[in-house]
């Protein structure tokens, strides 16, 4: 079966790149929010988020930065917190044929909301 021909012939290549990147950003957020995190574990968590989310269709690159400042200021006796949207800055790069989209997740203070948007697309 030609999956692209059967299921994706109603959208353009550029739309396909946006579509796949958006799925992966939504997936990333909802898979990992809530994970325990501290300054000690943050690097291996970032690495595994990048490695796992890159497996999804059309995803060529994932870059994630979890806010170290928040981790360094943790004030409870357990020295870790649950991962939240406020702590995340993520880029997901998706490519389909000759089209490429960069989807960004960033906490926008003015909006008080972790916004997902298309940072670049061609």
């Amino acid at each position: 079966m030609d999956v692209d021909e059967k299921y994706f012939n109603n959208i353009s290549k550029r739309e396909r790149a946006i579509f796949e990147g958006a799925i992966t950003m939504g997936a990333l957020f909802h898979q990992f929010i809530g994970t325990p995190v501290s300054i000690k574990s943050v690097e291996s968590l970032e690495k595994s988020i990048e490695d796992t989310m890159k497996l999804q269709p059309c995803i060529s690159r994932v870059e994630i930065k979890i806010d170290r400042e928040i981790l360094e200021k943790i004030e409870n006796e357990y020295d870790y917190i649950s991962l939240t949207g406020e702590m995340l800055d993520v880029k997901v790069v998706s490519e389909y044929s000759d089209k490429r989209a960069v989807i960004r997740l960033k906490f926008i203070t003015e909006l008080n909301y972790p916004l997902m948007y298309v940072e670049e697309v061609d």
Copy 2:
């Protein structure tokens, strides 16, 4: 701040509808996969998935069907299983301005994969 003007002026209205629907489908899958489910609890789980995922930007409707046949055949002494992609059939309807996209998640036996695709868009 005009969010659309600032963050979304590089994509079309149609692309925006696809983008938001795709985020929500990825989110839905990764938030709820793993949830315990049985024939007794399936209806309230479906309802809450619909109610919660409809909160996301641009989402006007979510329809989810969890496969009853699989639930009726559960063969373990605990009478429930963890929700998997094989059990899901989902439609997410997103609307932006006068554009509307229906994103579908369906397990495709031939692919052995829970495929997400754009079922309708105008």
Copy 3:
């Protein structure tokens, strides 16, 4: 196979009740943290969390209250937030044979931490 005889003969009935309640509390937290929630969807979310987590072994009752005050004060243009530990007050009742444990999850302001503890056990 007698599961209890084979896998649980090294702990007391009281310990078994504590064990099963604790699993379910950890499960509940990490399954549902991150779910979108608003004042409109909160009731169906609470109901489905109760219905699904009650499926787990030995669990006779789950009571969850998501903080309405926090939901009423949401200040972003999307009118929902992601569920966090600060918003939760949960009781999980587990019973094994004649033993019963009530596991509680409560955000303790002094600790700045969503503490899980055994509220009652006999």
Copy 4:
């Protein structure tokens, strides 16, 4: 505040070790089930699960093995699958004062269920 004195004086040290280990096992399962995984990403996923779950109270060690045989046999064109309970073999070691418990998660074919039990406790 003395948390142990205030919240945990109704259970024994041994029960506390069991309690904390059980929470972490339930947490681990429901946080990570659904994560995309392949033979390429499995090691970094295992490492980050160990690093993150070890942050929880009283946990001294987490060992996880994700089934390579299943990963090597993946038969779809996307070369990854969602993590399920069938693929997991986990040990969580919790210690409180001089007491130590090893909690195990193992898929038991006879039960068709990923069983969590207390493998060792003293």
